[in-house]
């Protein structure tokens, strides 16, 4: 079982090499992704719940003097994220349309993103956690730039510069954490060792490092106001790239917050909880209304994915077990539902050539199966009971209510906890998402059928995987 984690990372890379050497791109990529999916399910099933903690650990020293080692291992959260990654990878590769130009490169880029996220989620070394995530940078640039649609060039530039700069901020934060929080001689990048240091009371993190890390991770998760790269990038990216990016890659930032920031910066998190809550209100409230104003489906979904990050942040900001569980479930559920939404976006665009609400309409009559699937995605995204998103959101709200007195700011002499408006806006946000998702549904699938959409064929392959959602 120990070998499964390295296998998960290297398999996509080996598949890329084979494709570069001339193997059939689509078939090779799909086989690799399928094997990965199976392997991650086996891992998930093989995790010993009673023992808990890190399992399947393997270790290779890299720069021992600085405490840098390649350590792979998994716990419950990791395995959930791995399952999400392999699932979304497989479906992203599956829905990829026929590529005319440079098919090999297309699949190589997707496989690299997949290997990067899997590596990031299974690394127990902070530096490798960071490094694996960066593996996605160039593939994203290429995927949006070569095969994107709309204003792809500026979207690709924006995303690359934002993510590049954000991750360098992150790197500096991690370095500062390493140098200034740990006692000399005991410095390490190993998460387990840092945990030991923390429980021995030897860790002295200062709050400025917390702020750097929050900006760094926040940029990657599109925390308000560092979000502006995300919607254009998702709108322009080809569907599989958007699925991987919004569904999985973005969760890396949250994963980092859960793994590194929240456990090791307890004081700073408390002290600055008003800031995080203020920003997440921006994510839910402000971005929610921005989403309502969108006139194209891909932009709606892109903005909605930025907005939903706010809920996950809300779960994290509540700092209790309810909120964390809610955030974890939401990460998984949102990863799947947004991936499905982007997949459907891609399918619709491929058939009609547009995602503009003004031009679409009545597709429900010609594409009934897609209509139903889109309905499911809409309901999941809104968070109706019965969908995992609902469970996550409810837990997040409960968590928030338990910690209602968080984020205290001094307002005209009153001690006013920001958590209360955050919860109120969060609940209102559900209504907002119902508005824009149902509006999208109405505009696309209901109403009179335009003459030119009559000849469209319904989808087949997406149906298979989309069902997994429930």
């Amino acid at each position: 079982m120990k070998l499964f984690l390295p296998l998960l990372i290297t398999l996509p890379l080996i598949a890329s090499l084979l494709i570069a050497a001339g193997a059939n791109p689509r078939r090779t990529a799909l086989v690799a992704a399928f094997v990965n999916l199976i392997a991650s399910i086996i891992l998930f099933a093989g995790y010993d719940l009673h023992a808990g903690g890190w399992q399947f650990v393997s270790e290779v020293p890299v720069i021992p003097r600085l405490g840098i080692n390649l350590i792979l291992g998994a716990d419950g959260l990791t395995l959930t994220m791995l399952l999400l990654s392999t699932l979304v990878t497989f479906s992203a590769l599956w829905v990829a349309p026929k590529i005319e130009k440079q098919e090999g490169l297309y699949y190589i880029a997707l496989l690299f993103i997949s290997a990067g996220v899997i590596g990031a989620f299974s690394s127990l070394d902070i530096l490798f956690l960071y490094s694996f995530h960066e593996l996605a940078l160039i593939p994203t640039f290429l995927l949006i730039g070569i095969w994107g649609s709309g204003d792809r060039q500026s979207a690709a530039w924006k995303a690359t510069i934002y993510l590049g700069a954000g991750s360098f901020v992150l790197l500096i934060g991690l370095l500062a954490f390493y140098l200034f929080s740990m006692p000399p001689g005991l410095r390490t990048f190993d998460l387990r060792e840092i945990n030991h240091l923390a429980s021995a009371g030897l860790l002295h993190p200062s709050s400025w490092i917390y702020l750097i890390l929050l900006i760094g991770f926040g940029t990657l998760v599109s925390l308000f106001p560092f979000h502006s790269w995300a919607p254009p990038a998702y709108a322009s990216a080809p569907a599989p790239a958007a699925m991987l990016h919004a569904g999985v890659l973005k969760k890396f930032g949250l994963y980092g917050l859960i793994r590194i920031v929240l456990p090791f910066f307890p004081d700073a998190v408390q002290h600055f909880s008003w800031l995080l809550i203020l920003l997440l209100i921006g994510n839910i409230g402000y971005i929610g209304y921005v989403t309502v104003a969108q006139k194209r489906l891909d932009w709606t979904v892109g903005y909605s994915s930025v907005m939903h990050m706010g809920y996950i942040f809300l779960g994290l900001a509540s700092l209790n077990i309810l909120g964390f569980h809610g955030a974890g479930i939401l990460m998984f559920a949102h990863g799947l539902s947004v991936a499905a939404a982007f997949a459907l976006c891609g399918e619709i665009r491929q058939r009609t050539g547009t995602l503009d609400y003004a031009e679409l309409g009545g597709l429900g009559q010609v594409l009934p199966v897609m209509g139903i699937l889109f309905g499911f995605v809409t309901m999941a995204s809104v968070g109706l009971p019965g969908f995992a998103n609902f469970a996550g959101e409810v837990l997040v709200f409960f968590g928030g209510v338990v910690s209602f007195d968080f984020g205290i700011v001094n307002l005209l002499g009153f001690q006013f906890p920001l958590m209360i408006p955050a919860i109120v806006i969060g609940v209102w946000g559900v209504v907002i998402s119902a508005i824009y998702m149902l509006r999208a549904y109405r505009n696309i699938f209901w109403g009179p059928v335009a003459e030119r959409w009559q000849s469209l064929t319904d989808i087949t392959p997406t149906a298979k995987y989309s069902v997994i959602l429930n």
């Binding site: 070569i146 590049g164 790197l171 140098l179």
Partner: protein, 480 residues
Amino acid sequence: MNTLLLEIAVVALGIILLLIESFTNRSDKNFLSYLGAAGLGLILLLSFLPIHGSAEGSASAAFVTSDHLAIFFLRFLLLTTLLVTLMAPSFRPVLERYLPAERAGGGIGEFTILPIFSCAGLMWMVQSIDFIMIFVSLELATITLYVLVTYLRQNQASLEAGTKYLILGALSTGFLIYGITWIFGVTGTTSLPALPSAIVLLPASAYTSLLFGIALILVALSFKIAAFPFQFWVPDVYEGAPTPVTAFLSVASKAAGFVVLIRLLLVLEQIPFLAVKLNEVIILLAALTLIFGNLAAIPQSNLKRLLGYSSIAHAGYLLMGVASLGSILAIPAIGFYFAAYLAMTILAFLVLMIVSENTGGDEISRFNGLSRRSPLLAGALLLSMASLAGIPFTAGFVGKFLIFEVALHQGHYGLVLLGCVTVATGFYYYFKVIRAMYWLQPAEETPLPVSSTVKWLIFILGAAILVLGIYPTPVLAALR
């Protein structure tokens, strides 16, 4: 084995090759490159034999040292020269176009032999611990480079580059010798190890003269390493010089300059009041170099110039390391950065050379759609650009990481913050090249021919970038 034997072997290799060149009847001069590379490879292997320095008190011990720093950079220079020699055969069509055709194949052999002499000079330079020795070895290296930069005699750009390099090189040499004179005049010694004890004995009134001398030497060294504000020769010279020579200039010559700078600073920083002042100067130099190199690289449309500006930017990161010499980890970090820089820069120039020969220019637009004309070349340049930009799992990332780590450790927060901004800037201009290769349409679809030597070089350099990016320990251990 004495390290001086290595330099003697290099000079002997150069002379032998020159003799062979003169007396051979073969018109195909490529075998000289392979012979030279083989010889350099052999000398590189010899350097791994047990080495002992010159005996204490002997004549040569006063001038040269063979510490870890020297030995690391001896190998570094030998490797760089070896790679540049192997680039030469592929550069032959350009040489034939721009050399006067009095004699078939005339001047082609010497093109591969001259870098070997320059290498010997630089090897002495990284070993020197005496100002006179530094000066003499620097001259040996630079005079050869003057010839090499202006080698394409019938090409305007090369002549212009050569003239600029000659004039500014001579100027910087003037600064150097003038500075040495002042320091000798004040302290009465030219030996670096003897300098601290001589300075301690100085009356306070002599400090101004001493600082003046040091400042002049710093100016001269800034020319060599292309630090702001003495970087202005770099883009023109890099653009005009023959591509293998540009590669040699930007890697070997810069490395030797940095080693001398490090030696000088290590000595002078033993004196507290100088240490503080010099550190401030170096921090300022690093900051300005970072800003200038990265900002000026943004609008470039010519890849050779872009690489010139990028080499200025990298001098800035290296200066960050030099500013942190107080940490014992600084020298390993700088050494590793150079190892990474060697692999990624030579790889970039190699691809540039092949592409510009086949498309007729160095502009980035010549690289449009390269991924379709030659996936291998495009992939190699992609890897090199990723490493130059500092993307994880490449040597360039580990280099930047180590440098930033020592800089933070030494408390240079401002520099590190600036470094962050410039790295983000770097993403833009390096990705511009990737964009041309992968996003844009090629002017023509014909595949580019790649010789087997070049293929091997690409594989070796690419592997080096990746392996150092994942497992940097061997290089770091060499500088412990």
